[in-house]
């Protein structure tokens, strides 16, 4: 029987200095906080991080940014993290920002073995200055290149030992897309069940996209309801 479960240190030990790492999550849900903590402890540096946002100060990828472990961040919106905005404004990290669905689609294209795609999103804006604009049947279109990574770190609610994944509610977001777009995929998971226990119709991401499963022993406060977002 295939068994992809492993210890977090062994899994994260594969991440090397200078690599590109995709990190799942939209805000907190889907963010692999444990894997990020192990990556910080390990001291890996010179990273390019790809995440929708920059989490919030003191949490998630913000801890790597604050420790100077990333030289570059590819994201959509980092407004909930004033620390990351300050690092960007001081040019201590290079930040590349994309429309959110275009970022998702760049990753999806990378995962689907495509080289890129054409879109009219942003064609009438300053985005065109930093992008290649083509003519498609008389219409202007921006050429967006596909995005891939060396490693993807994602969070799932449930896995079977072969790596089939189930995500919870809004914690799905970028996780399955990133798992498709990286050479090595490490998943932290809240529950691991025997292979065959997840109904094939209920699988959100087939195990073929998953290399390593790390079981979360406990959920730290980062995973919980965040008091400052409660109305």
């Amino acid at each position: 029987m295939i068994d992809k479960t492993t210890a977090s240190a062994a899994a994260i030990g594969q991440v090397r200095d200078g690599q590109t790492v995709m990190v799942g999550g939209f805000g907190a849900p889907g963010t692999p906080f444990l894997l990020l903590e192990r990556l910080l402890e390990q001291g890996t540096t010179g990273l390019t991080l790809v995440k929708n946002d920059a989490n919030e100060p003191g949490s998630g990828i913000s801890r790597l940014l604050e420790a100077g472990r990333a030289t570059r961040l590819i994201a959509s919106h980092i407004g909930l993290n004033p620390t990351a905005v300050a690092l960007m404004n001081r040019r201590e990290i290079e930040v590349e920002l994309h429309p959110q669905g275009i970022l998702a689609e760049k990753i999806r294209a990378g995962g689907a073995g495509l080289l890129g795609f054409l879109t009219d999103i942003g064609v009438d804006t300053i985005l065109r200055r930093s992008r290649e604009v083509l003519n498609l049947d008389g219409r202007e279109a921006i050429l967006e290149r596909a995005l891939r990574a060396d490693v993807a770190l994602i969070h799932a609610a449930q896995a079977d030992r072969s790596g089939n994944l189930v995500f919870a509610k809004s914690a799905r977001n970028f996780c399955p897309l990133m798992a498709m777009a990286a050479d090595t995929v490490i998943v932290e998971v809240e529950e691991v069940v025997a292979t065959g226990r997840i109904d094939p119709d209920a699988v959100h991401l087939p195990g073929a996209f998953v290399d390593h499963l790390v079981l979360l022993e406990k959920l730290t406060p980062d995973y919980g309801v965040l008091p400052h977002h409660v109305l």
């Binding site: 805000g27 009438d124 509610k169 809004s170």
Partner: protein
């Protein structure tokens, strides 16, 4: 009622039963509080939800259930979850009937500028550009003027655009204005204001139809 509540309450009346809508951060998230019970809508959130329900009661928060503004939310029957690529396929594919967005500036030609103030504020693009460009109808909900009392509704935007010619309707605490091929058309006036005041606070010519202007 605060001016924000007034805008949200008026914006709610733009929604028809059966529509798919997306609510931007700020005033738009308050719109659901004013939706009559018989109006059935599916609220979409960029992070992969269709079918957000009424505001979450304290203590009922689910750690895995937030909207794109990081607020804890509830669901309505028939709700569904999906990944971010599918979520934006829904937006760019034209399945969102109304997108409600706040703004920094909006122009008489329907141009929208709400994502960047060069040198001051550039936190990112988020989902706004795709919503503005691809929703079937874009309704801007905004205070009529800036904090300094300067018009936000202008002949032409001065800030970098989010999208060109995308705005269909502007709802402020003072007026409901439609963007037409002739220019800005005043559809309604707030109860406590008058046409001269609204014109003085608007940075572009404001057309009026025949007869008395309806109040809200």
């Amino acid at each position: 009622m605060s001016f924000k509540e007034k805008i949200a309450a008026r914006a709610a009346r733009e929604i028809r039963s059966g529509q798919v809508i997306n609510l931007g951060i700020g005033i738009p998230t308050m719109i659901l509080d004013y939706l009559p019970g018989e109006v059935e809508v599916l609220v979409q959130a960029e992070n992969g939800i269709l079918g957000i329900g009424p505001r979450c009661r304290a203590g009922d928060e689910d750690r895995n259930l937030i909207d794109a503004g990081a607020n804890y939310v509830t669901l309505v029957p028939g709700a569904s979850f999906f990944d971010s690529a599918l979520s934006f396929a829904l937006i760019r594919g034209g399945r969102v009937d109304i997108s409600f967005l706040g703004t920094l500036e909006v122009a008489a030609n329907g141009d929208l500028a709400n994502w960047i103030v060069p040198g001051k504020m550039a936190p990112g693009i988020g989902g706004g550009m795709e919503l503005a460009q691809k929703a079937r109808r874009l309704v801007v909900t905004t205070s009529h003027t800036t904090r300094d009392g300067e018009p936000k509704i202008l002949e032409r935007c001065t800030l970098p655009l989010t999208a060109k010619g995308c705005v269909k309707t502007i709802i402020t605490e003072l007026a409901v204005i439609d963007v037409t091929s002739q220019g800005l058309m005043l559809r309604e006036l707030a109860a406590e204001t008058d046409l001269a005041t609204v014109r003085s606070l608007t940075g572009a010519p404001l057309l009026c139809g025949e007869g008395e202007i309806p109040r809200f």
